[in-house]
């Protein structure tokens, strides 16, 4: 059997250095995590099995180590305005304790990375993709004025606790709000963040994630991360989850993955990320690529990111060509088997004329044409804990 290591296909980014180890490396190995190289680090791809971990996260709480991601802090007088030079979001209007999904864009409107921005009150906290963080840091240093300070929080790890039981688990852990007017952790709603103390240790907690489930991301000092991971996994509702299930969960949730569904050749409008271009910014412009992005908003994109539901059990993977009859109309950018739906699903970019929900298309896999239907995303409904819900 050959190409055995293809299971790690999505895992090898272009990194020449030997993989580095993250603070939970030994913890993962001790728990039977199968370690692979990803974004320049050794990361667990699975523990008990992708299917198990996926379904566990959808029904209980999965603990993900995402410490490979870049955690950055942008501070200084005028930091919001400075970030607006680089991001298309309305950063100035972001209230303290709130967060937004945003994009780093090149001058042609191509996506350099996607990221989360949190207003921490005295600074802005950014979480960027692990494989892109060094490029992002260089891009931000270049684009931010000299009196704005950019700090790489590389002495912090990041955990994601995701799933319907995540909120009870975190409440049971006994976190204390670090601010005098802070709410208990279960009082946060989707896309809210606040600082907490756990046994005197500082944690940055946000109600967010990338699985479609209710859940939290927890920024923790590297020196505290083993104790925190142990305490979370001591709860019967929690199981450690690897990168494999993280990928299948985000695909079911219809969330694009940078380097696969999003690249510098992809614009935010065709990628279905126009919501990241805030209303005020659409009126003002003044962000990288504004001209082409605003034109695409006005005219409609030439191609679109769509969801595809496949018949049968054979998955279509990244790179598979999408046909409408004999005509090539697109390419799959992510694909796999949905453990929740028990059938293959995919994301693809297809010509706008073939992007309407319900359109019947074919995907070519090893010479076979697999029937597929353009489907609304998410494939599995989001369960975010929204304000007022």
């Amino acid at each position: 059997m050959s190409e055995f290591d293809d299971i790690l296909d999505n895992a090898d980014e272009a990194v020449d250095l030997p993989p580095a180890t993250l603070p939970l490396d030994g913890w993962h190995r001790a728990r039977g995590g199968r370690m692979v190289e990803f974004a320049g680090y050794w990361m667990p791809v699975q523990f008990r099995g992708i299917m198990d971990e996926h379904l566990w996260t959808r029904s209980h709480a999965g603990l993900f180590d995402v410490s490979h991601m870049g955690q950055l802090e942008v501070s200084g007088e005028g930091a919001a305005a400075a970030l607006e030079m680089l991001l298309p979001g309305d950063i100035s209007a972001l209230a303290p304790g709130r967060m937004r999904y945003s994009l780093l864009l090149d001058d042609d409107g191509g996506i350099l990375d996607d990221l989360m921005v949190t207003h921490r009150g005295d600074s802005f906290y950014l979480v960027v993709n692990g494989a892109m963080k060094w490029d992002d840091i260089a891009h931000l240093r270049e684009g931010l004025p000299d009196d704005i300070t950019l700090t790489h929080l590389d002495e912090h790890g990041l955990l994601a606790l995701q799933g319907p039981e995540a909120v009870q688990v975190l409440a049971r852990l006994g976190l204390e709000p670090a601010l005098p007017d802070g709410v208990p952790v279960e009082g946060l709603t989707f896309m809210q963040a606040a600082p907490y103390l756990w046994q005197g240790r500082p944690l940055g907690v946000s109600r967010s994630g990338y699985t479609g489930e209710d859940g939290f991301e927890i920024s923790v000092r590297a020196t505290d991360i083993v104790a925190l991971a142990d305490a979370l996994c001591a709860d019967d509702a929690v199981m450690p989850v690897g990168l494999g299930a993280r990928d299948s969960l985000r695909l079911e949730a219809g969330l694009p993955l940078y380097g696969h569904d999003l690249t510098p050749e992809t614009g935010p409008v065709e990628a279905g990320l126009a919501f990241a271009i805030s209303k005020a910014r659409r009126a003002e412009g003044g962000f990288p690529g504004a001209e082409s992005i605003l034109a695409a908003l006005a005219a409609g994109p030439v191609r679109k990111r769509v969801g595809l539901l496949l018949d049968g059990r054979l998955p279509a993977r990244e790179g598979a060509v999408v046909f409408a009859g004999a005509e090539q109309v697109g390419t799959v950018t992510s694909g796999g088997f949905s453990p929740t739906l028990e059938r293959p699903i995919a994301m693809a970019f297809v010509d706008a004329a073939h992007a309407a929900h319900g359109t019947a298309l074919d995907i070519e896999v090893r010479g076979r044409r697999l029937p597929a239907t353009v489907s609304p995303m998410p494939f599995v409904p989001h369960k975010y804990h929204r304000q007022g819900a």
């Binding site: 059997m1 050959s2 055995f4 299971i7 790690l8 099995g49 494999g244 453990p339 090893r366």
Partner: protein
């Protein structure tokens, strides 16, 4: 019935001039949850090293190459209905295909069970 192993993690049972081919238990454990398997049709003539089957796990597709040459006499149709058979019984019910051995000499140099076990431990 002698059983041989390859360093590509296939097993081959030899019964006269017929061979049954599958992937090893180690291979299935590395691939994880298997969701789809494509086996060769009866009558297909495989050359050693030719693409013979495809295994799709939740995460990725992996090709399986013919460990020896021969004409396929059967593909395991049960795998179409129940690909997880390979996870539960890779070296038994989860066989992939049977073929008529074209050249018994190709079996020389393959590993026996003890040698394969040492090989896997060295990985």
């Amino acid at each position: 019935m002698p059983r041989y192993f390859t360093d590509e993690h296939e097993w081959i049972d030899v019964d006269g001039d017929t061979a049954t081919v599958g992937i090893t238990d180690y291979a299935q454990s590395q691939l994880g949850d298997i969701v789809f398997i494509e086996v060769p049709d009866e009558g297909v003539v495989l050359k050693k090293g030719a693409e013979a089957a495809v295994v799709e796990s939740v995460k990725a597709a992996s090709d399986v190459y013919a460990p020896i040459s021969g004409a396929v006499t059967a593909g395991n149709q049960n795998l179409e209905e129940d690909p997880a058979l390979v996870n539960s019984d890779a070296e038994g019910e989860g066989w992939f295909f049977k073929l008529t051995i074209a050249d018994a000499g190709e079996l020389e140099g393959l590993m026996d069970e003890a040698a394969y076990k040492r090989f896997v431990e060295s990985l």
